[in-house]
Each structure stands twice: as structure tokens, then as C-alpha cells.
């Protein structure tokens, strides 16, 4: 039995199915992220855990206690919002202590706890400030402290870093993770930013169209995507349409060039078209040793991305494949138009469940 359990949870808004048969069991102290594009049902799921929406069917339990139909103020669940939602009429200290005042705790206990939490978020000197006197990052730290003040059983965070700039986002997400580990609180984090989800979570739930696409550790999600959606949404990916040559030997052909998968292609027949996913970082700009897969084509683009350089190689008549190489000042990059051979190990070619929507699609996850 898990600490937070969502069982067969469904939610519709009129004819629109927001969440379909959602199943999740999290352990105590686990950090789980719900990752997906806008409208995939991740926020609705979070809001059902918080009690702001009620499921049409299914159940939600915390520590074995059914909370499916409890109003939000009767669940011991803390929430941090994207828009901070600090009470503008209250100081930082009053905001943090609000929940404790509602629960009629003693003044001494409130003062002590508020002080501890402000220390934890490194803002003890800001206790008497009002929200409008704080930066976005500071406001969100106060919102986090406020949510934690009532010692919730589960902490919910709804895209808490979306309104912040890139540097603050990284700093604050590390802080959130450190605080979560320190307190050992079960946390559900909603984001559409795959980098955030992968860096923060013990497990990631990838969602699309109200359904769970895959649940797994960040490494599993990134390296072994279960569906073409997960593969395309998480990280940058080359999705190539390949013709199966010999399924038992894992042999495939991409634009007439033969490659090999690490495992036999189960459930596919010779001549069938399947999707092959290739991460740009697993492809090398060299011929590689015997036994590696090789593809050859002219360079069509070279992009400088800071620490890495991304090259695009055209295969045959249309599809292109992207590869990443570390930015080394001594590296000699081929000029555009020059034919090069790139290589990747058989383990890097992941055969997915469905054929690629567009042959040779180079898909980058949005954030």
C-alpha cells in the first residue's frame, strides 16, 4: 500500500475528458512529477488531489484514508501555486502563519514555526515585508514556507517556477528539492518543463490527452521511452521511419541504409514500417568501430548551442538526423554540404510502438 494512491480516477468537463483512468501509487517521502503538454490533465489531477476538483469516478487515498470527496480545507494537503497566491494584505510572517492561525495554534507555536520556516527559506529578515515588496522568487519561497507551515501530509506544486526567469528557476528548483529531502514530505509536482521534471523527481509520470503515457524514473523515461509520445516529448529526439528487414535479427533500413537494433523487433514483420528513436547525443561524428550502426549523408546545418554543437545530416531524399557533439575549440567541423558518416551503437536505436508521423522528424520537447 502506497502513501498517496490514485485509483482509476476519471474527470470530465462536459464532453471533454480531462483525466482518463489515472492510476498512481507513491511512497512516503517520494517526489513525483506530472509532466506533459498543456491540456494533458496534469493540473486537473493535482487539483483533484487538493480537493479543488472532484473526480467523476475512482478514489484518492492518503496514508490509507479516503479523501476523494473531502473538501479541500479538510484534507491535510499543502499547495503552491504558479501565481504565488500570497495574501496581499498580510506580511510575509502573517502569510506563513495563516494556516496555523486558522488551526488555532498558540501564538508562541506560530512565532516559533514561522521563524524556523523563514530560516529554512533564507528570508528571516523579510518577515515584515508585504508580498509586493518581494521579487517573484522570494514570493514563491514564501508560498512554499506557507504551504509547509501546516505540516501537510502531501505537498502539491502547480508549475511553481513557470513565472520566474531561467536562473532563478534553476536555483529555486534545487532549493525545493533540498527542502523536500530535508522534510521527507511526499510531493507531487506539475510541470511542462521536462528538464525540471527529470532533475527534481524520484519518478516522472508523463501524460498526454488525459492518459498516463509512462511512469518511471527520470533515467527510464529519458533512455527507454515507452511510446513515441514520451520519446518525442522528453528531450530532443530523431524519429526516423524505418523499414523492418529482419525482425528476429533486429535489422532495419532507413532510406536504404541498414542499421541494427540491440534486440529483436517483437511483433513486427519484414517490410513493415516502424519508428526508430535516436537521441542526438548518442550519435558520433565518426565512423566508429565494427558493429556500430552507420549512416551517411551531407551536412545541412551546423548550430552552435553553447556547450554543444548540433549538426543535421540529410539521409537520402528527405529525412534529416541531428547529432550533438561537445563544443571543443580544437574540433574541426565539416562544412555544410560535405558528406559525412555518423555512427551510433545498436543500443541507441530504440524501436517504438508506432510508425513515425513524419519520416525523419527531429523532435524537440518544448518547455
Amino acid at each position: 500500500m502506497g502513501f498517496l494512491e490514485l485509483s482509476h480516477v476519471k474527470k470530465r468537463f462536459g464532453a471533454f475528458v480531462a483525466v482518463e483512468d489515472f492510476e498512481l501509487i507513491t511512497e512516503r517521502g517520494e517526489f513525483v512529477s506530472l509532466l506533459g503538454p498543456s491540456g494533458c490533465g496534469k493540473t486537473t489531477t493535482l487539483r483533484m488531489i487538493a480537493g479543488f476538483e472532484y473526480p467523476d469516478s475512482g478514489s484518492i487515498k492518503v496514508d490509507g484514508k479516503e479523501i476523494t470527496n473531502l473538501p479541500p480545507n479538510k484534507r491535510n494537503v499543502g499547495m503552491v501555486f504558479q501565481a504565488y497566491a500570497l495574501f496581499p494584505n498580510m506580511t510575509v510572517a502573517s502569510n506563513v502563519g495563516f494556516g496555523m492561525r486558522v488551526k488555532k495554534q498558540s501564538k508562541d507555536a506560530i512565532t516559533k514555526r514561522v521563524g524556523e520556516l523563514l530560516e529554512m527559506i533564507h528570508m528571516p529578515e523579510k518577515a515584515d515585508r508585504y508580498p509586493y515588496q518581494l521579487s517573484g522568487g522570494q514570493q514563491q519561497r514564501v508560498a512554499l514556507a506557507r504551504a509547509l507551515a501546516v505540516e501537510p501530509q502531501v505537498l502539491l506544486l502547480d508549475e511553481p517556477l513557470s513565472a520566474l526567469d531561467a536562473k532563478i528557476r534553476v536555483a529555486l528548483r534545487n532549493e525545493i528539492r533540498a527542502i523536500q529531502r530535508q522534510l521527507g514530505i511526499t510531493t507531487v509536482y506539475v510541470t511542462h518543463d521536462q528538464e525540471e521534471a527529470l532533475s527534481l523527481s524520484d519518478r516522472v509520470v508523463v501524460m498526454s490527452d488525459g492518459r498516463i503515457e509512462q511512469i518511471g524514473s527520470p533515467s527510464e523515461i529519458y533512455n527507454f521511452p515507452a511510446t513515441s509520445f514520451v520519446a518525442s516529448f522528453v528531450g530532443t529526439l530523431n524519429l526516423l521511419a524505418a523499414r523492418v528487414v529482419d525482425p528476429s535479427a533486429g535489422r532495419l533500413a532507413v532510406e536504404g541504409q541498414e542499421i541494427r537494433a540491440a534486440k529483436p523487433i517483437s511483433g513486427a514483420r519484414s517490410g513493415e514500417i516502424v519508428s526508430v528513436a535516436l537521441r542526438p547525443e548518442s550519435i558520433s561524428l565518426e565512423e566508429g568501430p565494427e558493429g556500430t550502426n552507420r549512416l551517411r549523408g551531407p551536412v545541412v546545418d551546423v548550430s552552435f548551442l553553447g556547450s554543444i554543437v548540433r549538426l543535421r545530416i540529410r539521409l537520402g531524399d528527405g529525412p534529416t538526423v541531428s547529432l550533438d557533439t561537445f563544443n571543443d575549440p580544437n574540433l574541426t567541423l565539416p562544412p555544410i554540404g560535405e558528406a559525412v558518416t555518423v555512427s551510433f551503437p545498436p543500443e541507441a536505436s530504440l524501436v517504438l510502438d508506432q510508425p513515425a508521423a513524419a519520416p525523419g522528424a527531429d523532435v524537440a520537447a518544448g518547455d
Partner: protein
């Protein structure tokens, strides 16, 4: 050169506006001072017990009306915006009805329904005053609702409500501790407009035979020459005092919501 001409035109418009608003006041003041000795109209008005009595009565009625209006409108507007935003246009239409239905129709309706059993409100002073308050709540509805609605729209009530709920707060706590303090300026605006309506209203108070300020002013103008002008200016001064009080009470900027630069 063009800019200078534009500036002169702007000042001319401003001057015309000032004259439009202040000339009648100056004329009223001039007329009120024609009594002999010059401030006799003011001293006699202020010494008239009916002046103070009617003003006090109207202020009490205004206080009750404002309290009742807020108790009715704040939760309604809050609920409509939070839970049934699609009903907002309907509610707005209802709140505009007092502009369409004349006060005289409203007061005859009230008298007809509440002057006989089982609800003979007009048989007692307190009952008639209650009807007066009810009438004023209706008259102030468009102004009070709009003030509250505008205030609610200026804050993210959904997030604030949900944040409070997640910390264990019930509806009353949320309204009292979170929503109302953030509506202070809007509530003061609504309260002021209601006060202005109640102090100047004549029709309903007259037909319900209430000793309010409006009927007193009307009665005065029928029997005296300079005093009505003096009393009008006094009530105008009181209105300005109320406005200054609102500006003073609303000067606190704590309720501003700003997202500062990240650091």
C-alpha cells in the same frame, strides 16, 4: 509651436470644466450669503433641530444600508466570480434594473406589499425605516455591485481562495480574513456612493414619511429662501469630507500586487 497650441487648448478645456462645476457652487454660495447678517442662513440652519435630526437619521439609515448591501453583495459577487462566472452578465443585468424602474414605482410596490397583514411594515416607525433601507439597497445596487465586482476582478480570488482552503480555512474565514481586506478600497467606494445616494434621496423617504435629509431639504426650499442654499452647501461639504476620508483610508498601498524582478 503646435505643442504650445495643444497645451493652450488643453488648459481652455480644463478651465471650462472648472467653471462648469464650480460656477453653480459659487452662485449658490453667493445667494446663501445674501441673507442679513451674511452667515445667518448657515447659523439658522445649523441651529434648526430638524436639520441635525434629519441628517443624523439619514446617516444611520445610510450606515444600515451600507452594512446590509455589503452583507448581500460581497458574498454574491464573490460566489458568482468564483463558481458561476457565466451568470455574471445575468447578475449585472439584475443590478442595473434600478436604472430602469423609477424610485416611485419601487416605493409604491413596497407600500402595497408591506402595508397590510401578514407583513404590515408601514404600521410602525421601525418597519417603515426597514422598508426605507430595503429601497435604498435596491437603489444603490448598481453602484455597490460594480464597485465590489471591480475590486474582486483586481485580485486573483480563485488562487487566494484555494490557497486559504488548502491551509484549512472555511468560507467565512476566507471572506473575512482574505477577501474583504483586499477589497477595502472597492468597499469604501461602494459605501461612499451609497452614502451619497441616501443623503440626497427624496422620493422613497417622502412616500414612506420618513424624517430623512432629502425630504427636509425639500420642505425647507418651500418655506425659506436662503437656508436651502446654505444646507445644500453644507451637505456638499459633508460629501467632500466623505471623499477625503475614503482617499485617506485607501491610501495604504499594501494591497498592490506586484511581481518584482527576480533576484
Amino acid at each position: 509651436m503646435k505643442r504650445r497650441r495643444g497645451s493652450i487648448a488643453w488648459w481652455l478645456v480644463f478651465l471650462l470644466g472648472v467653471l462648469y462645476f464650480f460656477l453653480p457652487l459659487v452662485a449658490t454660495l453667493d445667494f446663501s450669503l445674501k441673507a442679513k447678517p451674511p452667515f445667518a442662513a448657515y447659523t439658522s440652519s445649523l441651529q434648526d433641530p430638524k436639520f441635525l435630526g434629519s441628517l443624523l437619521y439619514s446617516l444611520v439609515i445610510a450606515g444600515v444600508t451600507i452594512t446590509a448591501s455589503l452583507a448581500l453583495i460581497v458574498p454574491t459577487a464573490y460566489w458568482v466570480q468564483l463558481r458561476v462566472p457565466r451568470a455574471r452578465s445575468l447578475v449585472e443585468f439584475v443590478t442595473l434594473l434600478p436604472f430602469v424602474i423609477p424610485a416611485v414605482v419601487l416605493v409604491f410596490g413596497l407600500i402595497r406589499v408591506y402595508s397590510r397583514p401578514p407583513l404590515p411594515f408601514t404600521h410602525t416607525d421601525i418597519g417603515s425605516s426597514a422598508l426605507l433601507v430595503a429601497g435604498y439597497i435596491v437603489l444603490s445596487l448598481p453602484y455597490m455591485y460594480r464597485a465590489v465586482d471591480t475590486g474582486l476582478r483586481s485580485i486573483d480570488i480563485r488562487s487566494l481562495t484555494e490557497a486559504a482552503q488548502s491551509m484549512g480555512a472555511g468560507w467565512l474565514t476566507i471572506l473575512w480574513r482574505v477577501i474583504l481586506p483586499n477589497l477595502r478600497v472597492a468597499l469604501l467606494s461602494g459605501a461612499f456612493l451609497t452614502l451619497a445616494i441616501v443623503l440626497g434621496e427624496f422620493t422613497i423617504a417622502n412616500f414612506l414619511a420618513r424624517p430623512a435629509f432629502g425630504p427636509y431639504l425639500n420642505l425647507l426650499s418651500q418655506s425659506k429662501a436662503y437656508e436651502p442654499a446654505a444646507v445644500s452647501l453644507i451637505s456638499f461639504g459633508l460629501t467632500w469630507l466623505a471623499m477625503i476620508a475614503i482617499a485617506f483610508l485607501g491610501r495604504d498601498t499594501r494591497t498592490r500586487i506586484e511581481i518584482g524582478g527576480a533576484h
